[in-house]
Amino acid sequence: MGHEVIPIRGLWRLFSSDKDDANTIPDWMENDMTQRRAVLQALGLASLAATSGIGLAACSNDPAPPQEDGSGPVELRVAIFSSNEGHLEVLNSIGVAYVAAHSDRVNKVVFDTLPADAYITALQTQIAGGQSPDLAWVFEANARQFVDGGAFVDVTDTLKQAEGYAFDDVVAEALRVWQQDDKVFAYPFSNSPFGIYANLDLIKAAGGPAPRELLDNGEWTWGRLAESAAQVAASDSGLTGFQAGVDPFDGWLDGLGTMWPQWGARPWTEDGTDCQLTSQPMLDFFGWFHEQIHQTGAHAKPGEVFDMNSGQTGFKIGLLSGSRLISEAGFDWDFLPLPEGPAGAHPIVGQSGIGVLSQSSKIEAAKHFLAWFTNPESGAKLSQFFPQPRTSLLTVENLKQVSPLLTDEMISGTIIDQASRGTTKQGHKNLSRITDKVKVHLDAYWPSPNADLAALMEKACADIEADLE
């Protein structure tokens, strides 16, 4: 048995659980299977190889899923990272409506929750194991990895040509991180602007001006925010003035990427090939932020822990999703747009996207469903939980559903206005490797009151040169 490579491979194709997809199993996987067996035999482990052969040849009892060749409706599987009941209810209702309208194409849409913490791990294991979901939600941080890495298929035409889709209604800026050469590879089903949560009680007690007044007077700048934050920090040793959303000492890009655009800075060029960490705007920004840690004391030091919702922080960058906790906290608060910096205003949104996986065996059906899932009607349903990147859906009325805790003022100023212009933080195909390498240098920068920033950034740029391609 161990020697009969070809028949076993044939058997496997006949009986494996995805037998109907046998034609679409990528070549590399079959090669892998046969070559692996050859390696095992070469290593003299014929008996063990036979064991794995049994595995390959084994018959599956799963009912065969319908075929993709148009002869019958298929079942679609969508990987998601939320297990919230309300989310699942809305998603399933969209799935049911789709199946009702297109029973000739799809007989079921299954939304499969993978835990957010292990989402990418689980998703990749499924794909690497030949059981790719047909569509998947993806965090913004993975966007370029998936788009540039070939994980998603091009859906531009599908979306543009879908009936009643109104492609022009979609905010163009919102698609940017999911595009490659004007081709759309995924759709940001959640598009939520970053803003500033302010603890009005603390600010008032420290003698600072109400942030909304500053905003109305056109004085809402990072400089004024930092001044007010420094007052809060100085008023009590148990308080800090200001916190970037994500701890910037853990995740520098997530924590600070919402801020440096207002300095006109970017970590690398738009096409992702050249390091810009040594550019003057970037050095200015880091210098300013460092000053807030070591000189004015407005921002917490590395390793210090403060919690906005417990009333320990004056200002904090956050998304709409932070409003539930802060509203339970029992102090007077506000949610404002990001302040202006030396280079003016530059709104930033946080997103999650959904796309069709290139390793799916039902790409055509999945594309068709994606167009339905992101059309204006489905968008209206989704906007109950996820702010939509469609101009027609960015209304106070609509957003009231997802943000019952915000005032109309906050919704129109902080959400709608910003969501219709905002871009995402800059991404990169090799983002996780790049951020890790730069972090090593920043780790040395933050704790030291007088580190040589320019020299550190030079080294960081040298380290990531190979990854910027």
Binding site: P26, W28, M29, N31, D32, Q35, R36, V39, L40, L43, L45, L48, T51, S52, I120, T121, Q124, I127, A128, Q145, F146, G149, G150, A151, F249, D250, K301, P302, G303, E304, V305, F306, L357, S358, Q359, N430, S432, R433, D436, K439, V440, H441, D443, A444, P447, D463
Partner: protein
Amino acid sequence: MKSTTIDKFTGAAMAAPMVLGIGAFGLVPFLMVVWYSLHEWNPLAGTFDFSGVANYLRMFTDPQIPTSVGATLGFAGLLMVLNIPLAMLLANLLNTGLKGITAFRVIYFAPVVVSSVAWVVVWSYLLAANGGINAVLAAIGIDGPNWLMDRRTALPTVVVVQVIKGVGMNMILFLAALQGIPNELKEAAALDGASRRRVWQHVILPLMTPTILLVMILTMIGGLDTFVPVMVLTQGGPEGTTTVLPYLVYRTTFQDLEFGYGSALGVMMFVLVLGLTAIQWVARRKWVHDEV
């Protein structure tokens, strides 16, 4: 006692289920990982291209590797140095019939059961620069260090958190061994007029050596394979000082999406651990009682 042919068959049959199972579910998948490591593999895009030993050559130029190997060895070494003597001490203290000793056993064992998430969450609060431990230190006039953010303290701090979490398990193994020593032996030695210390040194300790070997190997492997506390407490920082190999493997594979290179790192880690284990295994005949 000599083993007859029938004995040999019986022995082979008794060991067979485990040997076959572990071969099939442990070693065969590992050989496949070796196979993957010879490829450039991006499952998301469905590319799987043979690249020979390129992934292994890349390790020599990867600046993360020396730091990471150093951090891994430092972590495992410090863990063994702290964990094993402490476990031995606790086991001996708790191996008495004193009233209420069960309660202590349960308490020292409790961290083993606590979910690692809850465990790490609590400690990250306690170890913050302005956290509970530094508050206590400040109360007695000491300016505590920035435990997790200072490159000098981060690694030892994570090790100590791991020691407290895991020492209970080693304590249990030592307790089992202590209980396995017949009381009569100790009593006989005591009757001969040996001091408690001499009984421990010459009767108990030699009989414990098989378990000490076991605990050493298990602790070393556990230490070399530490991952969750690093991911949560330090994310490999500051300045890469806590980027241990398993964390690097995880990051490379599932965050950087480089399955081929990640597999090669995994193989390298396997070889490293195998080498260190082999040294302990070969050295065992010199000091372990009754080894065959």
